[in-house]
């Protein structure tokens, strides 16, 4: 992390005492300044984005205040705006997605890190990285033509017949809805969970495994009871990363969720997510309050992903610190 601190001796005496303008004639100083400007522009742009979100949402923030988060009504005509259905939809779909993706992802990561020989592990990881590169709209395309009919004709009726006593699986089988969106999200975030968890598991020091095995545990026991707990914070970090990704997903969700601001205990119900409502209604939001409400939703989404990403980074930092030599005996 240390930058090169060796200074090329200049032709002139004490370099630090020269004035700014005369230092400017030195090519390196110009380079430093220019590259600094580029780096600073990143900070500037990010600041502008946050400010734009804050000022754009001033009207609804003043009118509704905190009740914005607890109101169910979204009525553009009466100018009553409540974010609850969208927050609900965003959280539920992300929840379903993670519920499906986390076991699969961690299982696959364990396989890749612990069991598979190096070559197979690398090859499979290569393919999984490719899966992460598939754009959202393609998942949406597949969602519309493959997942929705599958849900409507097989999966939802099957769930209703077997688990229909649970409020989760009641209601008509439209094909679109929270559950479908959750499944599509699960497919989208699995690669993130796998690649990060795999790296974290690989970084667990060998002596942990060997110690467990030496004490007579089976392969599985050493993995599940020693290695995975050691890498726990990193794996949690990967889950938070996946969650942040799932919350911000727009296209794939809007194509399969049903686009109806509803709060329902059934997973088969159509719903709406924050990103989807912004995508659908932004260009037609007449009136400053309406537009402001959508921008406020954007601000909420931004804050959610910001917090989650921060937590994820923190957790992964914790894991790498643990792994690097300060291993617990």
């Amino acid at each position: 992390m240390a930058t090169s601190s060796i200074n090329v001796p200049n032709a002139s005496p004490v370099a630090g005492s020269r004035s700014f303008l005369s230092r400017l004639r030195n090519g390196d100083e110009i380079a430093r300044l220019i590259t600094f400007l580029f780096a600073a522009s990143v900070v500037l742009i990010t600041l502008m984005l946050v400010i734009e979100l804050w000022t754009g949402s001033v009207l609804p923030r003043h009118k509704f205040g905190m009740s914005f988060f607890f109101t169910r009504v979204w009525d553009p005509i009466a100018e009553e705006f409540g974010a609850l259905p969208f927050i609900y939809g965003t959280l539920v779909t992300a929840g379903v997605g993670l519920f499906l993706a986390v076991p699969l992802g961690i299982g696959a990561a364990i396989f890749l890190a612990e069991l598979a020989p190096q070559k197979i592990s690398d090859t499979l990881q290569f393919f999984i990285d490719l899966l992460a590169a598939v754009p959202s709209v393609i998942y949406g395309l597949l969602g519309v033509f493959i997942v929705i009919p599958m849900m409507r004709e097989w999966i939802q009726p099957a769930l209703k017949n077997t688990l229909g006593f649970l409020p989760l699986f009641q209601g008509p089988a439209y094909g679109v809805g929270f559950f479908t969106a959750g499944i599509v999200l699960a497919i989208m975030v699995i690669p993130y969970i796998i690649s990060v968890s795999r790296e974290v598991l690989l970084s667990v020091p060998r002596d942990q495994r060997e110690a467990a095995l030496a004490l007579g545990s089976t392969r599985w026991e050493s993995t599940w009871k020693v290695v995975v707990p050691f890498a726990k914070s990193g794996i949690m970090g990967s889950i938070f990363l996946a969650l942040a990704r799932a919350l911000g997903e727009t296209m794939a969700v809007t194509m399969v969720i049903g686009n109806t601001p509803t709060i329902s205990s059934s997973l088969f119900s159509p719903g709406y997510s924050i990103a989807a409502v912004i995508a659908n209604e932004f260009t037609e939001a007449t009136g400053d309050m309406y537009l402001g409400a959508l921008i406020e939703l954007g601000l909420v989404l931004f804050l959610l992903t910001f917090i989650l990403n921060g937590l994820a980074r923190l957790l992964m930092l914790l894991t790498t610190q643990r792994g690097s030599g300060t291993g617990h005996a």
Binding site: G27, L142, M251, I295, T305
Partner: protein, 283 residues
């Protein structure tokens, strides 16, 4: 004792097999997606798709020539914004800056990276579309370029860090200035990694739809110059997929195949380059 051991061994074998199944499922999904796209899109791709403009609604035929060119223009312009800022900013972080400034810049870049793409669209609309009263390629490219910045910035910084100190010191010992060292020795050594990072960033934004919805909008015709709305592959896929017309569905599959094919190709090429040559100092 014996029974318990056998049970534990069985559980072990079973669970490990299950993890194998998980891995297989994950990879199978990829091939499944590709398979479907090839099957549905392959039959739909014809010469018209690449050369013709869309036909009036409800009439079969036509193609997405304007969307393909539109996407190319968007990506070109986006890299003009994203690459220099990321590249030179990364040089600053790796070669010039102190730790405090570096922390702030990296933090901002991570923040920008985590912003959902629809929010980037809102920002680009407010900043570029409204003041100039135009949906435009520039506005769309601005949004995409913003998304490229964090990736190129972090990657440039990382790969530059990976270049051994000895190279820098050797160059400076021979009397070269710092800037000269950076541009003639350090960057070329990290060249491979930086280029692949740019390619990966391009592949990432090539498929983004949300930021384009209210910036580049869409266009039935060719988009002249840079300040008019333009069609793009991802937006066309979205519009056609949710429509009721069979012919549009067919074209959406074709467009999906083309888009994904290009993205995967760039990814594969980039990763292969990366795997082969990890910052090897040139002799």
């Amino acid at each position: 004792m014996n029974f318990r051991l056998r049970w534990r061994k069985f559980v072990s074998g079973f669970m490990l097999a299950m993890t194998g199944v998980c891995a297989l499922v994950a990879v199978a999904v990829l091939f499944f997606i590709l398979g479907y796209l090839v099957y549905h899109g392959g039959t739909a791709i014809n010469w018209d798709f690449f050369t013709k403009l869309p036909t009036p609604v409800g009439e079969a035929g036509g193609g997405m020539a304007n969307a393909i060119v539109g996407s190319a223009k968007l990506l070109l312009l986006a890299s003009l914004l994203g690459v220099p800022i990321g590249f030179f900013g990364g040089i600053y972080l790796a070669e010039f800056s102190g730790t405090k400034v570096a922390f702030v810049v990296r933090y901002a870049a991570d923040l920008l990276n985590g912003v959902p793409s629809i929010v980037i669209g809102i920002f680009a609309y407010a900043l570029v579309v409204l003041p100039f009263k135009h949906f435009s390629t520039i506005a769309g490219a601005f949004g995409l370029g913003l998304m490229m910045i964090p990736i190129t910035l972090r990657s440039t910084e990382e790969f530059l860090h990976g270049v051994p100190r000895a190279l820098r010191e050797g160059s400076m010992a021979l009397g070269a200035s710092k800037w000269s060292t950076i541009m003639r020795v350090v960057v070329p050594a990290a060249y491979r990694g930086i280029v692949t990072a740019i390619l990966l960033a391009l592949a990432r934004v090539a498929g983004e739809t949300a930021p384009l919805l209210f910036t580049a909008f869409s266009n039935r015709y060719w988009s002249p110059g840079w300040s008019q709305p333009t069609a793009s592959l991802p937006v066309m896929i979205f519009t056609y997929a949710i429509s009721p017309y069979e012919d549009w569905h067919r074209q959406a599959w074709a467009a999906g195949l083309v888009l994904l094919g290009l993205i995967l190709m760039v990814n594969i090429v980039a990763r292969v380059i990366l795997a082969r040559g990890v910052a090897v100092p040139r002799s």
